[in-house]
């Protein structure tokens, strides 16, 4: 069955090509139907592949020769490890649900078929990225998912914010992509191959074929460059600024690309290149610190945002930080585990938020309220996702987040653990702030509230499935299941152990549960049934500068603007000056020179034939004289 894994990305590609041929006039039913059927088939194949991988262990890459560069040969193909078997399963499941959901959410959009084209192209690229057997192929699909993200964020390109956000997301991730490309080229240069196995073998042995830098330093450098790519794609600090803006895209896009799959590609990249990172403690520490900073920073920003999607977007950034930290402290399995659970509950939260937005046609939290009575199904599923995110037992997030916390503490990183615990508190607070503001209390805008209603089955069915997954996905790696996922993943490695696993620690579990409940309680106190002394506005005023700092996203956009835009403008001014007064001056001097010469020559052009003939006669005179004297005319 594993040999048929190529079908997994190919089915969405077929759907993409089919929709491309149908063009933009395709009926909505056909576009959505074909896409959902293809990706459902893709999911079923993935499931079969997953089962086969579980019983067989990793299956060597299936390679085809692509091109020969000098002595090196580059191949393409696919491979199935347990890591990417899990990934394709998650990606194809979420994709199927989002494609189904979009049929309701995008209903009536005049570019509906185009939307489905882009989505199918994205699903294909993402699955192919995951199945890539070498770094070059990975990079190609890495760029393709970036392109699809750009197209989909800017799908409503007629909104200026969407167009700007699309550009921003593309440019900011570009920074990371450039690092990744340099890293890949450097790895190729040093090891002579793009293939994971060759590269990792060289990294493990510290034997690079480059003389000018020591093996250890080169390993660290390459790992950091690859991590830079992951930072861009997974919206880690300091390149996280694009993800919240990317929320300008349609909500299903946010759910699929900016929560469940593409942003997780950075985490997948680090996980896939884990042997490289393991060979460099410095790189691992960097990953851990970047992850922790991102997790805390994004959680703090999410506390005060007014836009429902932005809160969830910052939550995504924060959770991606958790995953990076897990990988950074060595807890490989927990990072991947959290990736999986997060994909489910975050896609759920986005889709539920989309359902809310669809119903009330606003994204401002303070224009909602009391929607539980109108959207009970959405409210319940959102609650499941929120509990999972906050880490309440027994929902998915509890198990994965708790594992990460335990690993951080057990590996001797108390500071990181403290940051994560604080972030967990914030997480519980902000997600339930959203929940209470949206679903409880009195309607803040009755006219919006009045005509809110649940979407059709295509929108509610994905919510239900994801809610189920958000509830139970945690058990895949819980003690109740004998830490099944860890053992599953570790079969990829010959030592049957990758990185670190923490033993069960019940007091820690209780502590993190307590923190989560505290956050929820505080949110309830402020936003659910606030007493007069605890109304949100008073809170905001009481916290004053901190509130503003969080609300303005720690002024990072402004800082970047100042640092980059003003620097760019300064350089441009210098270049402009050089262009104007050095290069143009040279050009002008040449022009002036020619001009003055021609002003002199102008007088020779009298237009009188006799004047010309006179000059010709003088020329003849010179020629005759020369001929007479030189050419031997005179004896």
């Amino acid at each position: 069955m594993v040999a048929y894994a190529w079908l997994v990305p190919l089915l969405p590609l077929a759907a993409y090509v089919f929709l491309l041929v149908l063009g933009r006039r395709a009926p909505e039913g056909v576009a959505a139907g074909v896409s959902v059927v293809c990706s459902l088939a893709s999911f079923l194949v993935s499931a079969a592949v997953f089962r086969a991988a579980a019983s067989q262990g990793p299956v060597g890459p299936y390679l085809f020769h692509w091109l020969t560069l000098g002595s090196a040969s580059i191949s393409f193909g696919f491979e199935v490890t347990r890591l990417n078997a899990l990934m394709i399963l998650v990606v194809s499941l979420v994709s199927t649900l989002v494609l189904l959901y979009s049929a309701g959410y995008m209903h009536g959009d005049e570019r509906f078929p185009v939307f489905y084209q882009y989505l199918n192209l994205f699903v294909f690229s993402m699955l192919a990225l995951v199945l890539s057997p070498n770094l070059l192929q990975l990079y190609i699909f890495w760029e393709m998912v970036g392109l699809c993200s750009y197209l989909l964020v800017g799908f409503w390109y007629f909104k200026p914010e969407a167009a700007l956000a699309a550009k921003k997301s593309f440019i900011v991730t570009r920074i990371g992509d450039t690092g990744l490309l340099i890293g890949i080229v450097l790895l190729y240069w040093a090891s002579g191959s793009f293939d994971y196995s060759t590269v990792f073998a060289a990294a493990g042995a510290g034997q690079w074929s480059l003389g000018w830098v020591s093996g250890q330093e080169l390993t660290t450098l390459c790992a950091l460059l690859v991590f830079l790519g992951a930072v861009g794609k997974s919206a880690q600090f300091p390149l996280h600024v694009w993800l919240p803006d990317a929320m300008e895209g349609p909500t299903p896009v946010s759910a699929l690309i900016h929560a469940a799959t593409m942003v997780a590609a950075g985490v997948y990249l680090v996980a896939r290149c884990y042997p490289l990172f393991q060979a460099s403690p410095g790189a691992l520490a960097t990953v851990a610190w970047i992850g922790a900073i991102t997790a805390l920073l994004a959680a703090l920003i999410a506390l005060t945002q007014r836009d429902i999607k932005r809160v969830i977007a910052y939550s995504t950034v924060s959770q991606l930080g958790y995953m990076m930290l897990a990988l950074g402290v060595g807890a490989y399995a927990y990072g991947v585990f959290h990736l999986m659970t997060h994909a489910f509950f975050k896609a759920l939260l986005f889709l539920a938020a989309g359902s809310v937005i669809h119903a009330v046609d606003t994204q401002d939290l303070f224009e909602m309220g009391g929607l539980y009575r109108k959207l009970p199904l959405t409210a319940w599923t959102f609650l499941a996702g929120a509990l999972a995110l906050a880490g309440v037992v027994p929902f998915a997030g509890f198990w994965s987040k708790d594992d990460i916390l335990a690993a951080a503490l057990n590996t001797g990183h108390p500071v990181l653990w403290g940051m994560l615990l604080l972030a967990a508190f914030c997480t519980a607070f902000y997600i339930f702030r959203v929940y209470f503001l949206v679903f409880t209390g009195a309607p803040r805008q009755p006219e919006r509230w009045q005509h809110a209603h649940e979407g059709s089955w295509v929108m509610t069915l994905p919510l239900l499935v994801l809610a189920a997954m958000a509830t139970i996905a945690g058990f895949f790696n819980s003690p109740l299941n004998g830490d099944g996922l860890e053992h599953f993943l570790f079969a990829d490695s010959p030592q049957h152990q990758i990185g670190y696993t923490a033993p069960e620690n019940v007091p820690l579990m209780l502590l993190s549960l307590l923190v989560a409940l505290l956050g929820i309680g505080l949110a309830a106190a402020v936003y659910w049934r606030p007493r007069q002394s605890q109304r949100p506005e008073r809170w905001a005023r009481a916290w004053g500068p901190f509130y503003t700092l969080s609300y303005r996203k720690f002024y990072l956009d402004e800082v970047y603007y100042a640092a980059l835009v003003y620097t760019g403008k300064g350089i441009a001014a210098v270049v402009d000056w050089i262009d104007r007064y050095v290069i143009d001056a040279l050009v002008r001097v040449v022009g002036r020179l020619v001009y003055s010469v021609s002003v002199l020559l102008k007088f020779s052009q009298t237009g009188q034939v006799q004047a010309y003939s006179t000059v010709a006669a003088l020329g003849v005179l010179v020629l005759v004289a020369w001929a007479m004297l030189r050419a031997g005319g005179v004896h």
């Binding site: 052009q605 009298t606 237009g607 009188q608 034939v609 006799q610 003939s613 006179t614 006669a617």
Partner: protein, 106 residues
């Protein structure tokens, strides 16, 4: 008619002087007719040279004289066309002054 041995140099000198006078006239005269006339003068000077050189050289013969005949014919055609052009221009511009025919002014 009898042949009188006239020094070659004298004949050539006559041709050269005539040629230069014609050249001066062609370069300086304002009237288009006189310019044409000067050109005819130069052609005449060339003819004298041709006739003189037909006696000299390795194979004295009549080639030079035949050439002179051709030149006379071509000159006749030239003056005819030239004068016709002059008339056309005069009808158009009411002048035969070379300077007034300058299209390159202003």
């Amino acid at each position: 008619m009898a042949y009188f041995p006239i020094p070659t140099g004298s004949l050539l000198a006559l041709g050269a002087i005539l040629f230069c006078i014609g050249l001066y006239g062609a370069l300086t005269k304002r009237n288009l007719i006189i310019v044409l006339v000067s050109v005819e003068l130069m052609l005449n000077a060339a003819n004298i040279n041709l006739v003189v050189f037909s006696r000299l050289g390795l194979n004295p013969g009549l080639n030079g004289q035949v050439f002179a005949l051709f030149t006379i014919t071509v000159a006749a055609a030239e003056i005819a066309v030239g004068l016709a052009l002059l008339l056309a221009v005069f009808r158009l511009r009411k002048t035969s002054d070379v300077n007034d025919l300058n299209e390159n002014k202003n």
